[in-house]
Subunit: 217 residues, 2 copies
Amino acid sequence: MTDLPPDPWFSTLPATRREALLARARASTAAAGARVYGLGDPPDGLWAVAGGEVRLVSYPAVGMESVAMILGPGAWFGELSVIDGGPRPHDAVVVKPARLLHVGLAAVEQVAQAHPLLYRDLGVLICSRQRSALNFMAHSIAQPIGVRLARTLAGAARSSGGAELHVRQEDLAAMIGVSRQTINKELKALERAGMVQLAYGRIVVRDAQRLRTVGEA
Amino acid sequence: MTDLPPDPWFSTLPATRREALLARARASTAAAGARVYGLGDPPDGLWAVAGGEVRLVSYPAVGMESVAMILGPGAWFGELSVIDGGPRPHDAVVVKPARLLHVGLAAVEQVAQAHPLLYRDLGVLICSRQRSALNFMAHSIAQPIGVRLARTLAGAARSSGGAELHVRQEDLAAMIGVSRQTINKELKALERAGMVQLAYGRIVVRDAQRLRTVGEA
DNA sequence: CGCCAATTGTCAATTCGGCGACAATCTGCG
DNA sequence: CGCAGATTGTCGCCGAATTGACAATTGGCG
């Protein structure tokens, strides 16, 4: 079938619910630039990235972009609106040509009817989101930019699995909320310290362990 | 019994689950300064504020405090660790002498056994948290401080119900992550614009509508 | 290969917020 | 009332990040 790469959340689901979801999932492909859903849309179900890359982005002001999350193969998303029925909290846009799985809202409710604990599973998924959000807020406030950058890189390297991140410095700037020039300066500092290696449109994490402990007492 | 003030989340719960929770809740009182639970603690169940004030706070660096949320009468908290079983993501401290309700972990699981949809309810609760977190991240990044302050005030006025906020300017500074002096300057600007009224240890929101739209195109 | 667009690297001028300091004001309490 | 501690109001200096500009480098494509 549609092979879905392993994911910390999805692979811990009991097999019955995992298969129930997959059985009702429909595969599709989307070109770079396509919008899976937009801010304010009513919920249309759960999504998963089977291949390519999807980003959850907001536009705090005209001409400004804030990247909330970068989703690679295996990642599920869209659970928030499915749980509470409210409008989508941000845009989901395809950045690299993607293969997607889609479980419609009605299908999710069918699965939930048969397996009420699915709501607990979705709760666990959103808990992990909430934990990273809290982590972000607690550690980003009033921390020097170098520290924030280091932790963002360490987190991205972990969630993407690999040490080679395909992000532009401009994307990092959007995620952390500073200018590209400042990101460049801080990245250079991390490179001099041997923790990362910079290339064109690509950053290689050399020492994730040390990145995580930048700025500790 | 223990009268619990109305709350947007709790009052939308179906009566059966609401009463099931209340039936297993134990009331207690806590003095200002007491810690309900601490960062890293294993989950011990759900809590509600029946009276007084509880704050969820982190300490991003030694000597620095970040206030994630201010909880007044009616507010439930502690759901994150109850759902995913993970450690507490921050401290919960009593700021004003409080009456608390506590539903132990075992009791929550009993209720969930009888009413599996409780997990959906808890999911909805955490969704509202996640929405404000996303809102914070999207709108706080690279927005002028005056805008962030205005939105924080508008949000606090709504969630607390009243127009009179009992917060010190220093608390606002901790929430937004800037210095007290800067907060003071921005508050003065909002006061000159007639949107708020400042007093000792207290801020009266005069025009929540306009606060919300500060900084729009 | 050779060009073009995208991305990175770097600089100076300027703006914004932090920090220390101190006065003014308010509240609670003896 | 009168005092002490807490909170607010305001100033000036300084460091950090933004902005705008431009050169250098890289990758894709005809």
